[in-house]
Subunit: 263 residues, 2 copies
DNA sequence: ATACATTATATGTTATACAAATATGTGTCA
DNA sequence: TGACACATATTTGTATAACATATAATGTAT
């Protein structure tokens, strides 16, 4: 959203940093397929010569590519900036940051989960096949296995939800869902509420059955009820979480505000 | 999602980069409220002394903070790393990257818009007040004003959608919606289809009326029909867009795949 | 008072050197 | 032959010092 000034169609001429220019060119090269996932960029020294800039600038650009998930850096001979396939997981950090700075709240998360996940589940039911069904079943079995750590327990009990995100066949949904689940996991992980509070295995059983049978309405409804139960507990965790993390107590406008000023 | 190895609860001991450690500490300080939005971090030189590391390391950490939206860098006296409030807009770049690398497709976008926006609209109807209503009305009037540039035209015709995202009162929805709209805008901006293809002012009129009246069901339905119409055109833009941008033609698994390997 | 040059202070960039990680080859020993 | 230790070369990671550039604040002349 830009300022909607009435006059003059000139563009601001802001002097870009050199590293931005380099970053832009490197990124364009990756997008164009000059460098593909699995391959690697030229070494920093080579890039220095090609761009005719200092190594600091090159490094800054490459670091930016690393932070956005385009490359992975490795040291040593046959090291370098290896081009990677972007993954949906990278988004979670951004959402976590928003949550930590009180730009998102638990009730908002739950409200969205309550609306998204049933739909994801519905699509999953329409899209299910034998292999996916087997993965769900396997994950469900693991839920009952003894777990060594709390972390493991949490991970296993959310696995079904992650899997459904993949099965639904819409990667935008998955991209939206993963941060939701990661945030949920983060809260449960830090607060460590008693296990029984959060979870009811029968819910998962019912969901998997409905999805596997391909009955979309039933799947959506099963998920809706599940989130509906779990949601309340999740909301309760928020204050405990923020305290444990020692975040600054915020006087935010909160979820009831009226959106950004746009003119 | 981590690997679920059965044995050994040891943690990988990966030697973190110094800049990561610095980044982590600076970020924690911001989250804790030591440095607040509007204020600024110590100068690079000062941080060098405090952390007892070189300026290169400090810069890398600060640049990372800049890229994630935590600070804004300014030059000159009274320059420095000014702490900023995180905004939801930062996410759009990440989603755009995913789209450019064929990790997201137009049909997926549309499918999500078709599900999300009616719900956003419903919540907006429940949450509407005089001020918000006025903003919507003002934006609608501007749609009919003569526009100088194509860019301006596109921006004005999407403004309603952005505004509703703010009005709905759930920032997670807004965070999900903004990238959707930005992607839509990007495609229309690059391909420059004839104006009439994309838009029908009557739809917007109907939406605003319903929202202003506070009738949630009607709002949702109006929006659903609107997206339903526009969606088809949007999907048609995708190939033209990717060609114009000169992106590498991809042999991706596509939206019909079965999610990432997790088992 | 206004316009303009000066200055001080921050980031932005360059150059060079060295530290640390690590694949690859080399040699030694069984 | 095979396995293991070891040197080696290559690439990123970090340190240091210097200079370039942007810019708020200050001073100066008209």
């Amino acid at each position: 959203m830009k300022k909607d000034t009435e006059a003059a169609s000139f563009r601001p001429v802001k002097q870009n940093r050199i590293s931005e220019e380099v970053l832009s060119q490197l990124k364009e090269a990756i997008l164009a397929g000059t460098y593909r996932p699995g391959g690697k960029l030229p070494s920093e020294r080579e890039l220095c010569e090609q761009f005719e800039v200092s190594r600091v600038v090159i490094r800054e650009a490459i670091r930016a590519l690393e932070l956005t998930g385009f490359v992975q850096l490795r040291q040593g001979p046959s090291g370098g900036a290896y081009v990677q396939d972007l993954t949906l997981d990278h988004l979670s950090n951004a959402f976590l940051d928003l949550f930590l700075t009180n730009k998102l709240s638990a009730p908002e998360l739950v409200q969205v989960r309550l609306h998204i996940e049933p739909e994801v589940c519905r699509l999953a039911a329409r899209n299910i096949d034998a292999a996916a069904s087997a993965r769900l079943e396997k994950a469900f079995e693991k839920e009952h296995t003894d777990t060594l750590t709390h972390e493991q327990w949490v991970a296993r009990n959310l696995e079904i939800h992650y899997l459904l995100g993949g099965v639904c066949g819409n990667r935008y949904y998955e991209a939206v869902l993963i941060p939701l689940l990661d945030l949920t996991r983060e809260m449960v992980l830090v607060v460590k509420p008693s296990h029984t509070v959060i979870h009811d295995h029968l819910d998962h059983r019912r969901i998997i059955d409905a999805v596997t049978m391909g009955s979309d309405d039933a799947s959506a409804e099963a998920m809706r009820e599940h989130i509906s139960k779990v949601g309340a507990s999740l909301i309760d965790l928020e204050t405990a979480y923020r305290e444990k993390r020692g975040l600054r107590a915020e006087a935010e406008t909160g979820p009831g505000r009226e959106g950004p000023q746009t003119g």
